[in-house]
Structures are given as structure tokens and as C-alpha cells.
């Protein structure tokens, strides 16, 4: 159902696009301002304590998770994520969703109910929204140089005259597979 909503603006990434890579790179780059917010609110220390890791290790784990989140964002939002005009809003909204689903629900569930509170909790929310904002801004720009050119991508033989046939198998093979 969700994908039918996304179809409204073309859910599928184009054939010459690399949304997962673009999203992962943008996700990692966007952790820079997000980490700054975590520091400012003292949330990083609290998260490290909840996870039982050092701050450096927490940052490392965070960067990996955010790379995955960035890839998910670019894949899930597809062409919307490529929009220079609206990308920042979609990213921010995704960051908000990530906070609601990840920081509020998953983190406590995985750590015996321990959750950031007070200013640290505000910092976590703000950092994820800032992360989403940055990732949303970055994806269209990171994505562009990763595209294959039209000339190169059009060489794919699947796009050639054989595409006219519904079943790409030669007729003899079709008959054999039906017989079997």
C-alpha cells in the first residue's frame, strides 16, 4: 500500500541510478552535524552508557547504522530523495521517523528498557532530525556523479530488440520446459 503511495511520484529508482550507494555515503556524511548535536546536548555519553560501549565505538556503530539508514532512505524514497527542492524535507521527515521508530522504540527494547531522558533525550531527537535534514540535502548531490551515463547504461542488451518478447526464452526452450 505504501509503495502505491510512493508510485505517485515514481518509486522505482532509475536504471542508471545507485540509490543504495548514494544513500549510504550521504548517511555517513550527515552524521557529522548529527554528532555535533549529540555532543552539545551530552547525549553521546548517555547513548554510549546505554549501549555499554566507549564513545568512539558508539560513534563507529552509529556511523554504520546511519549508512544503512541513508541507504534505506534513498531506496525507499526513490525519486523523491533525488529532488533537490524537496529532499531536505523528506530527509528531515525520515529522520523524525527514525527517531520515533529507532531511538524511542528499538533502543530501549534492545537494552533492557534503558532509554535517554531529559536533555539527552532531546539531543537524540534533535540529532536525528539534523541527520535527516543533512542526508536529505546531500543525496541528490552525492547521487549525481554516481550515475551511469545514458550512453553507457543504454548498451545493456536487455534493453535491445529482444525486449519486445514477453518471454525472453527461445520458443524451443519454452516448449521443453512446458513438457517437463
Amino acid at each position: 500500500m505504501i509503495s502505491s503511495f510512493l508510485d505517485a511520484h515514481g518509486y522505482d529508482p532509475g536504471p542508471s541510478q545507485r540509490p543504495l550507494l548514494a544513500g549510504a555515503i550521504s548517511g555517513i556524511l550527515a552524521t557529522v552535524p548529527a554528532v555535533a548535536v549529540l555532543f552539545a546536548f551530552g547525549s553521546l555519553q548517555v547513548e554510549a552508557e546505554i549501549l555499554g560501549l566507549s564513545r568512539i565505538a558508539t560513534l563507529g556503530v552509529g556511523a554504520c547504522v546511519m549508512a544503512l539508514a541513508g541507504a534505506a532512505y534513498a531506496r525507499f524514497f526513490g525519486r523523491a530523495a533525488n529532488s533537490v527542492r524537496g529532499g531536505w524535507l523528506f530527509g528531515m521527515s525520515f529522520g523524525f521517523g527514525l527517531w520515533a521508530a529507532g531511538a524511542v522504540l528499538v533502543l530501549p527494547l534492545l537494552n533492557g528498557g534503558r532509554a535517554p531522558a531529559g536533555t539527552a533525550a532531546s539531543g537524540v531527537a534533535a540529532s536525528l532530525i539534523v541527520w535527516g535534514l543533512a542526508a536529505g540535502i546531500l543525496v541528490p548531490f552525492v547521487h549525481r556523479p554516481l550515475h551511469e551515463s545514458i550512453a553507457k547504461a543504454s548498451k545493456n542488451t536487455n534493453l535491445g530488440p529482444d525486449a519486445a518478447a514477453a518471454n525472453r526464452q527461445p520458443i524451443r526452450h519454452q516448449r521443453q520446459s512446458t513438457t517437463r
Partner: protein
């Protein structure tokens, strides 16, 4: 929502003010700053939800806008109740970390809270639903921003102005009918952002290998009254096309007329459009190819028979008048162009359609016969083909004299006239037992349908439009259309070109622009971010495979027409 909370609080109701909750999280010693920050945060979240509504939700349900907004509000309300409100309570804690269980997490959520949050979010949904009603188009009379000036183009590949190569074409979708009885203008170039990104669009077309582009300057914006033109809407684009291509096939009237001309029932549109065509040909004397009026049959049917565009009538007689007016306009426009450029080539593009009766029922047969006669009327008029008796009688019943009809029948058709036949998967229709037309899909195919038009008019032909709404199935459709074209060419029909229509995705394509919903349909060679679609790559593949073959590098049929 703020007003609801404020008034609810004043009335002593147990309303939940999320802004107050947000502002209480930080800035404890600065209430005003806290309030401002809370408002800013809540406003931003509201904007995000509204964008989500517009982008992903709106138009997916056939409900009134207000009900769509209300339905959508379930999502933010659920999130506010289940996540945001309990989390805000956590943020007000003085401890940096808490150990929670579900009971403790949801402790702040009381029945009053739930009711208050549900009501306030319902209000939000209703307001968003009421506000977001017509995302595309504009009120008639309003002028969109003219296109930006041309940037220097570093390309060294100039257009060959004398090319006789086979036309590998696309088009910029440019429909501009009015809806809501002439009050609201649909403008596809505006909503697909072509006015803003026109230079990028042409660059993409060249990158795909397109040699010709069907291009319809916005008549309703340029032609502002008798003798009054605003060429700002087309000058930069024409300069680029002249120098670097693709070579334009100029589409002078595409499904609409300027508001000062009223609608297609106006018998004066022929005279007015004749003036416009002459002025256009004078301003751009280098243009060789013209489509004076695009798809006259479709335009007349949608406007006067289906009640969707322009005059929005549902009347056979009104259809006849619209078809007559458009055909006359097309003829007068052609004549005006020929006065300025005697070797102009006309590509009269029309929707190739066919109606099949479902069964041996006289009533069903009669409906199919009428529809099949109707589809030929405008082309019969411009190509001086004898009219069917039923169409002749229909025109006469609308006060059009036999002499006027005979005058068109005896007219000498410009020798450089090409018949363009458009084809989509709904162009073949079945008249069912109830007399309704239903899309048959590709039953006979373009080859058979286009052959009917060839047999009738014997004019050189071009496949002037096709596309597919299923982006993944589009390459298959592209190649099937291409194979149809090749088969027709092999049977001896002179064919000059093929068109995937259009370059970009289109808006509200499946509902024929009849409502300003703003739904994007992935029919383009590129999407609206101007990223290639798979069919864009397949078309480039096709062009690479054929364009250098001798019979395509120099198209015999086109060469004969031009010479």
C-alpha cells in the same frame, strides 16, 4: 491546532498543548524563547506532514479533499499519542537516563490526552485537506513565470538544418485545456517544470539521440489578443532549438485556446489562429515542420462530447461544431504558414483509434459505427476526403452549409502533408453490451489501425505518439511499436518517423487532465527529476542501432516530401 488548544484551555477542557509540552523541554528559564522554539518545532513537523500528504497520500483515494485530509491525520495522531507525547514527558525528566517498561512509558497518556490529540490532529487533517485541493494548473488569466534566459551551450554539434534523416522523435507534453468551465487552466509545461528546465530538457533529448522534438509553445500565454504577442515564453527555447536541435515539429494548438477566444465552439478561432500561425512563421522562418492543430478529433471529443475540457459539453452537435472549427483553423493556419514559407511540412497528428462492437446487436453496432465515423471527421475535412453520410448530415444539422463542406472537399491539400498516427494501449476500444467504450489493449496493434488511416488518406505517415504507463513494461512496448512501424514500412507505406511521447513523465495523464490532482505518471524517457528512465535507455539503444543505417540516415519518404 494552536487555536484549538488555546480555546480548549480557556474553556477549561483538558486539552493537550503540544507546543507547551515542547517548550517545557528546554529553555526553562526563558519562557518566551521556549514558546517560540516550541512553536517553530511544531510548525516544522506540521510542514513535514503536509509535504508527506501532498507527495505520497493526496489523490490516492477517491474521496473529497477534506476526507482525505482527515484520513491522513490518523498517521500523525497515532505517532503523537504513541511516541511523541510520552517521549516529551521523558525529555522533561531531570535524569539523563531512565529504565522504562511499557506501563511507565505510557503513563502520561490518559483518555483525555488521547481524545485531545485525536481531535487536534483531525483538525489539522481537515485544514490540510481543505487547503491542498488544486496542486497543478492556475486560474485562467494568471501568467506563470516566463522561462529563464538561455545559458551559453558549450556543445559544438550544430543542428543540420537540411537533414532528411528518419525522425527519431519525442515531445514535450504541452497540453493546455481549461477545466472547471473555463476557470482553471491546465498547463503541462508548467507542472512538469519545462518552463524552468527547458534547456536541460533539450540537452537530455540530445543525449538520448533524439533528432526531432514535437514542441508546443504555449498558445494561451503567447497570443494575448489580436496583434498582441508575448514571445518571452518561447524565444529562448527557439534560439536553442535552432542552433543545436533537436529539430522542432512546432505544435501550434494543443487542446486549448487563449481565454479571450472562449472555447472551441467559437467560429472565430480559425481566423485568430490563422493570424497566430502567420506571426509565428514570420518570427521563426527557419522552422520546417508544423502541426497546426494537434489531435483535432481528441480535442473536439474531450471538449464537446465527453465534457472534460474547454466548453465541457456532452453533445454530438457540439462535437461536430468543434471538429469543424478546429479543422478550419488547421487549414487556415497551414495556408498562413505556406505564405511565409512555401516549403513548410505539415505533420497532422491524430489519435489512431478503432471501435469494435462486442456482439451482433444493432444498437451496439450503431454506436461503434458512429464512433468509427466520428474519429475520421477532422482528418476527412483537412485532407479533402469525402465525408461519411452520417458526418455530412451531422455538420449540416449544425448549420454548416453544404457549399462550405463542398469547398473543403475540393480544396487542394498541401503536398507536403504527413499523417501522424498516435497510438496508446487504450486506442482500440470495445463497445460493450451497454454501449460503453472499453479499452481493449493492443488487440490489432498500430500496424492494423495505422493501415486503416493509410488506406483512407494515402499520405506519408509518422508514428507521432506512444508511451506506456507501466515504466518497467515500457521498453517492451517501445520495441513492439517499433516492429509495427517496420512492418508497415515493409508493406510499402512511406514512413518518416517514430515518436516516444513524451520526454518527461506527465501529470494526471490517466485522467486526461480532467481534474487538477497532480499525480505523476511514469511515461517519460526521463522522470521529473530529469533522471533517465529505463525506456529512455532503451530508446537510445534503438536509435544507436538504426540511425546510421543508410535507409535511416537518409529517409527516402522524407526526402521526397521535402524535395
Amino acid at each position: 491546532m494552536e487555536a484549538f488548544w488555546f480555546l480548549g484551555g480557556k474553556a477549561g477542557l483538558p486539552t493537550i498543548d503540544l507546543v507547551a509540552q515542547l517548550s517545557a523541554v528546554e529553555f526553562h528559564g526563558w519562557p518566551l524563547l521556549g514558546e517560540a522554539a516550541g512553536l517553530a518545532v511544531h510548525f516544522s513537523i506540521g510542514v513535514c506532514w503536509a509535504i508527506f500528504y501532498a507527495f505520497f497520500f493526496w489523490g490516492r483515494f477517491h474521496l473529497r479533499p477534506v476526507l482525505q485530509g482527515l484520513l491522513f491525520a490518523i498517521a500523525p495522531a497515532a505517532l503523537a499519542i504513541l511516541v511523541v507525547y510520552p517521549e516529551l514527558a521523558l525529555m522533561r525528566s531531570h535524569s539523563p537516563m531512565l529504565v522504562l517498561d511499557l506501563h511507565r512509558f505510557f503513563a502520561p497518556v490518559t483518555p483525555d490526552t488521547v481524545v485531545s490529540l485525536l481531535l487536534s490532529h483531525a483538525l489539522f487533517g481537515v485544514i490540510v485537506g481543505l487547503m491542498y485541493r488544486k496542486p497543478v494548473g492556475y486560474a485562467v488569466g494568471k501568467m506563470p513565470k516566463p522561462p529563464p534566459q538561455r545559458r551559453p551551450n558549450p556543445s559544438r554539434t550544430r543542428r543540420n538544418p537540411n537533414s532528411t534523416a528518419f525522425m527519431f522523435a519525442t515531445g514535450i507534453e504541452c497540453s493546455y485545456p481549461t477545466i472547471e468551465h473555463g476557470r482553471w487552466r491546465r498547463d503541462e509545461m508548467d507542472c512538469t517544470r519545462h518552463y524552468e528546465l527547458w534547456q536541460e530538457d533539450f540537452e537530455l533529448a540530445r543525449e538520448i539521440g533524439i533528432t526531432h522534438i514535437r514542441y508546443g509553445p504555449p498558445l494561451h500565454l503567447i497570443f494575448q489578443g489580436p496583434g498582441r504577442y508575448n514571445w518571452d515564453y518561447v524565444d529562448p527555447q527557439m534560439a536553442e532549438l535552432e542552433e543545436f536541435g533537436p529539430e522542432p515539429i512546432i505544435d501550434l494548438c494543443h487542446f486549448g485556446v487563449p481565454s479571450w477566444l472562449g472555447n472551441l465552439q467559437n467560429g472565430d478561432i480559425g481566423r485568430a489562429l490563422e493570424e497566430y500561425a502567420g506571426a509565428f512563421a514570420e518570427r521563426y522562418p527557419w522552422v520546417r515542420f508544423y502541426t497546426p492543430v494537434n489531435e483535432m478529433y481528441v480535442c473536439a471529443r474531450m471538449s464537446a462530447l465527453d465534457g472534460l475540457w474547454n466548453e465541457q459539453l456532452r453533445d454530438e452537435g457540439a462535437y461536430a461544431r468543434a471538429a469543424w472549427n478546429l479543422a478550419n483553423a488547421s487549414i487556415r493556419m497551414s495556408d498562413a504558414i505556406l505564405k511565409r514559407r512555401g516549403d513548410a511540412v505539415f505533420i497532422n497528428s491524430e489519435s489512431g483509434e478503432f471501435y469494435q462492437p462486442c456482439c451482433p446487436d444493432d444498437h451496439v453496432q450503431e454506436i461503434a459505427d458512429q464512433a468509427n465515423a466520428r474519429r475520421f471527421l477532422p482528418l476527412d475535412l483537412i485532407f479533402a476526403h469525402p465525408l461519411s453520410k452520417r458526418m455530412h448530415d451531422l455538420l449540416c444539422s449544425q448549420g454548416i452549409s453544404k457549399e462550405d463542406i463542398a469547398r473543403l472537399g475540393q480544396r487542394k491539400v498541401p503536398k507536403r502533408s504527413i499523417l501522424g498516427v498516435d497510438y496508446y494501449e487504450w486506442n482500440e476500444r470495445l463497445i460493450d453490451r451497454q454501449g460503453r467504450a472499453r479499452a481493449l489493449g493492443e488487440l490489432f496493434g498500430w500496424y492494423v489501425i495505422a493501415s486503416q488511416y493509410w488506406d483512407r488518406y494515402k499520405r506519408p505517415m509518422m508514428h507521432t505518439e506512444t508511451n506506456k504507463m507501466d515504466a518497467h513494461g515500457a521498453p517492451r512496448w517501445l520495441w513492439r511499436q517499433w516492429h509495427n512501424l517496420q512492418l508497415l514500412a515493409k508493406s510499402g507505406v512511406p514512413l518518416v518517423g517514430f515518436t516516444w511521447y513524451s520526454l518527461t513523465d506527465q501529470i494526471d495523464w490517466s485522467i486526461a487532465l480532467s481534474e487538477p490532482i497532480g499525480m505523476v505518471y511514469p511515461v517519460g524517457l526521463v522522470d521529473l527529476n530529469r533522471e533517465a528512465r529505463i525506456v529512455g535507455l532503451a530508446y537510445r539503444h534503438l536509435i544507436d542501432l538504426y540511425r546510421d543505417l543508410p535507409e535511416y540516415r537518409e529517409c527516402k519518404a522524407l526526402k521526397e516530401i521535402i524535395q
